[in-house]
């Protein structure tokens, strides 16, 4: 499958690095991973999208689902993305107002909690 996930810990944040294409076919794998993180008590999640080549509406839905899950635990879900073609997808759908989007993982981790 053209989606690779890699989780690391940075203080009280879990960083989920996503590489490849997020679409109807691969999004379930991302959804499972987010659910697993939250069940394991990771409520502050940074999703690094810098190595994502493609993102569709299913992928957006999964990220929004992840955000709702962490919010149930007063957590946060932040994104790292500087790729114009991916940012465009968030912008068009109005989700730039929903997700804090940072230009690096360290920016995301040090960002003040909302």
């Amino acid at each position: 499958m053209d989606l690779d996930l890699n989780v690391s810990k940075e203080g009280d944040h879990s960083v989920l690095e996503v590489a490849g294409e997020i679409d109807v076919y691969t999004a379930p794998k991302l959804r499972e991973q987010l659910i697993e993180l939250v069940s394991d008590g990771s409520y502050h999640i940074v999703v690094d999208l810098e190595k994502v080549d493609f993102l569709d509406s299913t992928g957006l839905g999964v990220l929004v689902g992840g955000l709702k899950r962490v919010r149930n635990h007063d957590g946060s879900l932040q994104l790292v993305c500087t790729q114009e073609k991916i940012l465009k997808i968030f912008r068009i759908t109005g989700l730039t107002k929903v997700f804090p989007i940072h230009s690096s993982v360290s920016d995301a981790i040090t960002a003040p909690a909302e």
Binding site: D56, K68, K85
Partner: protein, 157 residues
Amino acid sequence: MDAVAGVGPATVRLAFPPEPRLLGTVRLVVGIVARKAGMGAEGIEDLKVAVSETCAVAVGDLTRAGLGDPIEIDLVEGADRFGIEVRDRAPAHVLDPGGPGDGELDDRELGLALVGALVDDLKTSTLEGGGNRTSFWLRRGPELFDPALDDLPPPLT
């Protein structure tokens, strides 16, 4: 596909069974044909997203209906634009009665919003005998200006 060699726009047609794993292949093929037709990088990305969203809906509809009929895609090289038409044999689109479920956004609505924002002249209709047709196009070549949507010439049909 009634194009005659050297006359009218070249149309490459692609057909594939409704399997989600083939959407990546479809995107690559659309990217290749659009690039060969002279579309710029941003236009190619927009077309890939639009065709992928449209086909994902068709894959879902066909699968829910228990149908394996291939989805057909026409890629039309116009003189100054690139057109895509997607046809499937699924029963008319209906929103999942169970709703999006799992507390997540309705992907289909998001998907439609995306396609509508990315391409020009989005049209959907039902096919005689059952099925759906979605078509849209994008100008090709370097973007000389970026007019507001209502500055665009009216669609041909």
